[in-house]
Amino acid sequence: MCAITDSAQSAVNAGSTIAPAVELRGITKRFPGVVANKDVTFSVPRGTVHAIVGENGAGKSTLMKILYGVQRADEGTISVDGAAVSLHSPSDAIDVGIGMVFQHFMLADNLTVLENVVLGAEKRHGIADRARAEIVRISGEYSLDVHPDDLVADLGVGRRQRVEILKVLYRGAKTLILDEPTAVLVPQEVDELFDNLRELKSEGLTVIFISHKLDEVLSVADSITVMRRGTTVATVDPKSVTSRQLAELMVGSELPSPSTEVSTVTDRPILTIAGLVLAEAEGRDILHDINLTIHAGEVLGVAGVEGNGQAELVEAIMGMREPSAGRILLEDKDISDWHTREIREAGVGYIPEDRQRHALLLDAPLWENVMLGHQTQTPNVRGIWVDAAGAKAETERIAAEYDVRTPSIYVTAHSLSGGNQQKLIVGREMSHTPRVLVAAHPTRGVDVGAQAAIWEQIKKARREGLAVLLISADLDELIGLSDTIRVILRGQLSGDFDPGVVTAEDLGAAMTGAV
């Protein structure tokens, strides 16, 4: 599978006797009302590439921030080379030899490689010849092919990434954390990066590699830790798992008891999408020839790995993106060139994927948030005037009916936990008698209690004859709620899966294109 060099192999073997490069035990991090990390435990032997995989929202980035000293864990210990460390800031992390390569490069385009590398580390080897010699040495030692006097603006993405890697090596890192390093690379560059990682490993460095691309992880990692809902669910050997099994671990294979509810699907199409195309200026289409029909009382689930076009599909339906071709019909009206406001007024409820950015005014009181998206509808307005009394009464009702736990409707949305924010949004969208509900990752980042409540609301919507488009990365959720499941991969929709018989394995395979 992957070419493990001799020295790395010996390092792996030696790992049993010498202390691991990095070891995390029982790391727990809470944000108000939400547990971002819960009892995260794994260890990384020196001289290995260790991958951490998990869906977006599984807690990977919080974990990395803790490891890099940006945030502090509420519980648990971090040990480096066997000694417990306490990381208060990124400079503490670099002092114990942990360096971070961010997904978004932090390089100044108008400076040279040398200038970028020494920036902030001037004390190490000065800013001139000694630094230049050191850069050349590191570049040569790890085959990074980075030249100190190149202007960063002239470099391609792959080489910029290697400059980032060199930057942390220059600062004396022995353990490198790479956050989704392949997200920005084309396939050839990915291969080059993996060669570099193997080189680093062979020189005795340790790499922690965060990704959700399973094939890549399998090809480069010596061991893989899977995270789900904030906790580590398993650490596996890439030689003994398939990408299907990994996908299962990532999204959860313990399926809930199949929906015992009788089908409420009617033959009345509510939302029909025909030949929808979203073209990009260059390259392939973001969405290619999407066709789907959702009937009254039907939940259509769309599964897929993040970034395969689901966000764009939702935005096209909501009128936030102009389709390049194709039609979107609400019952028999073509809404594809309607404005977002008209679409919402016509009865399309919307639970956006990123509630903080798209569904809430965080600094505004709850009752103003209840108006959002419905600020042209009763009871929130009367003519051109805001009906504050109406909106406040509506908010009180929603808070009670949807179990939004808040001391008052006057606190800001910011002060609520994620789950309560989401319950407020669900309540708001369901309160305007929608015909269609577009729900993108409705239970992401919410606690289990709120998750169950939101699932119940979606089931209720289905019983009441709504057409529901459910986008989710959580297969439990999709299988438990949907009447039909489609998988989206690279902007194209698969055929139908029957949630009654489909397995998480089948879906996982379709999601990663491993079929």
Partner: protein, 371 residues
Amino acid sequence: MKAVDLRKLGLALAAPVLALLVAFLVTSIVLLLAGDPVVAVWTQLLTVPRPRLVVAIINGATVYYLSAIAVAIGFRMNLFNIGVDGQYRVAAFAAAVFAGQGWLPGPLNIFVSLLIAVVAGALWAGIAGWLKVSRGVSEVISTIMLNAIATGLVSYLLFKVADSTTGSNVTNTKVLPTASRVPGFPLIPGTPNKVYGFILLSVLIGVGYWVVLNKTRFGYDLRATGRSETAAVASGVDVKRMVLTAMLLSGAVAGMVGMPLLFGQDFSYGTTFQPGLGFAGIAIALLGRNHPVGIGFGALLWSYLEQQGNGLQINVGVSSELVFIIQGVIVLAVVIAYEVVRRAGLRMEQRNVARQLSDQPGPSNPERVTA
């Protein structure tokens, strides 16, 4: 609920009070370093103003208020209309040229001239708005450029239409007919000077600003866009149209800035017309936190400092430019203080909400469910 309101009010007042204290300290230090008499300066600045000065302070504030409201309209949706300065110049000039002709009888002439000023200000600001929505030009850059253009354009046109019959070496438009002047109010006893009649215009605009922003659908959309453009888009706000409308409105109010001066004091537009009103408006809007009442206090404070500062040179022998230092420090300090107070307020509220929820009976702690 009551307690929360009181705390919010306390927080809202804490920032400006803090900023004033910082300004007081910094200015005192500057005076000490420069070897100027600290006590004498503050005595001059903090003495009770004479009636004549009170009128001047109120009149100054009347003009500043309009300017700050114009800026605040933009601020409420994260638009930085730096161009109020150019907008009020163009508008005042256009209105003065028209009004000076005296084509219409008294009050009607005032009304139509005011309308012309509003339209001229709106159009001038509209250029920046249009550039932003159609070409993505930052309104900060375009309004600054438009300020420069406005200054040049108005000077150029002023020369063309200048009233040569006055026989003085001051260049100005034709002086308004007496019937088209807005009489003042003798509000302050002990002085023949009168408060601008157009103080009513400022009050009206302040009330209108508050009503439109807080009580109308349009105002809700505007505030939503300012708080989160992404959320506003998802809620169905046409952000481009909002940007253009807000710029036009901001410019329309900016157009009124020069009106109290034109109709209540100068009666023509000339080279001596008061400059820099737009920039003062930015500072005052920041100080007043875009709130109509806060801006009122800010405008009064600004005007107070300037009027009281006028006496510094004669009475204490310290340059009255000292006032600019005080004003500058106030604005800097207030911006920082508001941010500090805002964050403290957020944290306080979050803690408060968490505490109140954990006090509630029943399974009210969502974390317990998770764990």
